[in-house]
Symmetry: C2
Subunit: 443 residues, 2 copies
Amino acid sequence: MNIKNLIENNKYLEARKEIIKLNSVDIANFLEDDVNVDTMLILFRLLPKDMAADVFSYMSIDMQKYIIQSITDKEIKSIVDELFLDDAVDLLEEMPANIVKGVLKNTSKGRRDLINQFLNYEEYSAGSIMTIEFVNLRKEMTIKDALEYIKKVGLDKQTINTCYVIDKYRKLEGIISIRKLILNDENTLIKDIMKENYVYINTYDDQEYVASQFKKYDLTSMPVVDKEHRLVGIITIDDIVDIIDQENTEDFQKMAAMEPSENEYLKTGVFKLAKHRIIWLLILMISATFTGAIIRRFENTLQSVVILASFIPMLMDTGGNAGSQSSTLVIRGIALGEIELKDMLKVVWKEFRVSIIAGFTLAVVNFFRIYYIEKVQFLVAVTVCLSLFFTVVLAKMVGGMLPIIAKKLKLDPAIMASPLITTIVDAVALTVYFSLATFLLGI
Amino acid sequence: MNIKNLIENNKYLEARKEIIKLNSVDIANFLEDDVNVDTMLILFRLLPKDMAADVFSYMSIDMQKYIIQSITDKEIKSIVDELFLDDAVDLLEEMPANIVKGVLKNTSKGRRDLINQFLNYEEYSAGSIMTIEFVNLRKEMTIKDALEYIKKVGLDKQTINTCYVIDKYRKLEGIISIRKLILNDENTLIKDIMKENYVYINTYDDQEYVASQFKKYDLTSMPVVDKEHRLVGIITIDDIVDIIDQENTEDFQKMAAMEPSENEYLKTGVFKLAKHRIIWLLILMISATFTGAIIRRFENTLQSVVILASFIPMLMDTGGNAGSQSSTLVIRGIALGEIELKDMLKVVWKEFRVSIIAGFTLAVVNFFRIYYIEKVQFLVAVTVCLSLFFTVVLAKMVGGMLPIIAKKLKLDPAIMASPLITTIVDAVALTVYFSLATFLLGI
């Protein structure tokens, strides 16, 4: 690569010229992955001030820490002052206390107070993800006044695509898109064209709720108000995209019986990874004791017809798979707001019918296979296939119901996924299996 | 509710007055969920023309079909003409052929050609999700010219927050944000402030790739170009949010061994639901045959020490859970672009170390439980716990590797999830278990 050659020949200024042509995201990736840390630091310090802050905001936490610890106080101040407030707050939330102290020491007073205020909002609340870089107008302004005002202050604002109309107590009165400002006559009063029927959120709302509102109303930004309906910040959709990914990752992790973690897999230590996994493995392992106890209760049945044991894995696996299909669909439906508590009966009735079809098909195929091909004794084959049918029906009912019940109990539906469903279904499946065997085979 | 009372007293015009104060999304929900279809149709026809199209675009496919079949050709034309082009195309993609024909018949010629062109882009490609409502400028324009031009054409455009600079062959030369137009002097030439180093996509790019570019570069819109780099459309982030949800839903479904489907659970028929589930259940059921065969091979071992059977569920479940934890993290890491093919060895080494910790902890707890509390014979307890340890290590290695191997083979990593991992791990776990038992217990 051209830039790399320039660097190898120590032509840093020429390399810089090439680098600043790139997008900030690509510069961050280049500095982080393609050169060693010393070269990274040299090149980083050569970047123009505003670009440096932007590139910095796209780097990994580890690299940010390294940079903060390697540059002068003056350089830190310049970066933190240039960063958008929400990026600065994100940065400080991830840093160890001594670095935070160092950074805040080097930040101008007004900004320091703001950062401290933001650090006080509860994690994952709307307050913690909002930004304060927005344009606020007054309803008595004309479009001409408004555009002049925007020209004056707009450079600092993260987004000017929507402007916010507030009264003298900072209470939010309406919103207006830049589009409307441009398309209307310049003498029009803001109050005549502002939208008074807008969607807003409160500082204490959970980020998951915020994301759902963005999706529901197809918005690109939303105002955040405090208890007195004063405008305190805005949330833009680019942050929402990250939150959607984050919430989905959390669901994936919970559904695979792990404690959720926001850290990237490759950047997480082995002990931390193990810690997040072991607790659920232990709980589920000990739950499986009950299943073992069931088998022990039927030890005599098993001893007389040992071949029964060879169908245990197939029964357990099919039951688990059938159940987790249902629970996954319902958990996802709840997460997307498509399934609500009141739909419980609809879900159960639907799962009942689906499970009859699926269970019947599987049982017939299985009967054909074990009776005609594997030449298993007729009554054993009947026992296995009847058990299979009941297991599938039961697994799908349990899988469909438990996530909704969890939701009703204010638990996260995602914990009612494959691992837990499997453990429950196993126990019932084996009870059915051995009871049927004892009865049909007359043991 | 007030509106409902007005409707019950047949005061439709007064109800209309209240309804049009609401957000289009809420109107759509109200009409769909809170009134019967006849009232819905009356109220819908009372809506102002542009609002009707907007409300229509937020309704479910079934309701849209019902409305299209119940209103006059003229009303259809007015709705289809008012809809944003991408919404109109989405609508037609979901409708049966006879309705599509009826709708197109009632659409103006130019729009019909455009719709047909859009319907030709491959499903899930950038072309199929883009919109053509954008503002295009010329680089010789001044900001003043540009703003005047926007004022003239801007009302029809879905977003004017970013404008696109094209040459006379429609080739894309640069992009410029409305923010820059407002903040700069009105005599500035577009070419002096436009951004020439922009991110773009091709019509044939897959929507998943498009979404990843949006996330990577924190964008709110992106230009779509054809093979000659001519600007043919734009994609806005509100559509990307839907795609992210859609892609995640697909992963959730595949990971629970289902064929993916875009349809809402409650709105999908029982047979369709069953169809999407049965094939994988069958494949996995038949794969479990191998596990059964392993048990049958060790029938003698089992007959001598029947208690061994009672630990099969615990071993299988723990192995399955341990494996799906690893595969879920790796699948998710690949989906988010955090894990790449070249990270294979890093992942395996990490999983190896995590599995040693997890396997050891589980084995120790389990030994304590079954030897000291359940008073199982010493050598049986050793067999069970050693098997448990090896099973966890093996499950995590398999779970960590298979998704990356799938990716290497150009398969979707999401199929290497819990169900398949469990089936594979079961077979190996039971082989280890019975081999160890035969050896240690001297059977």
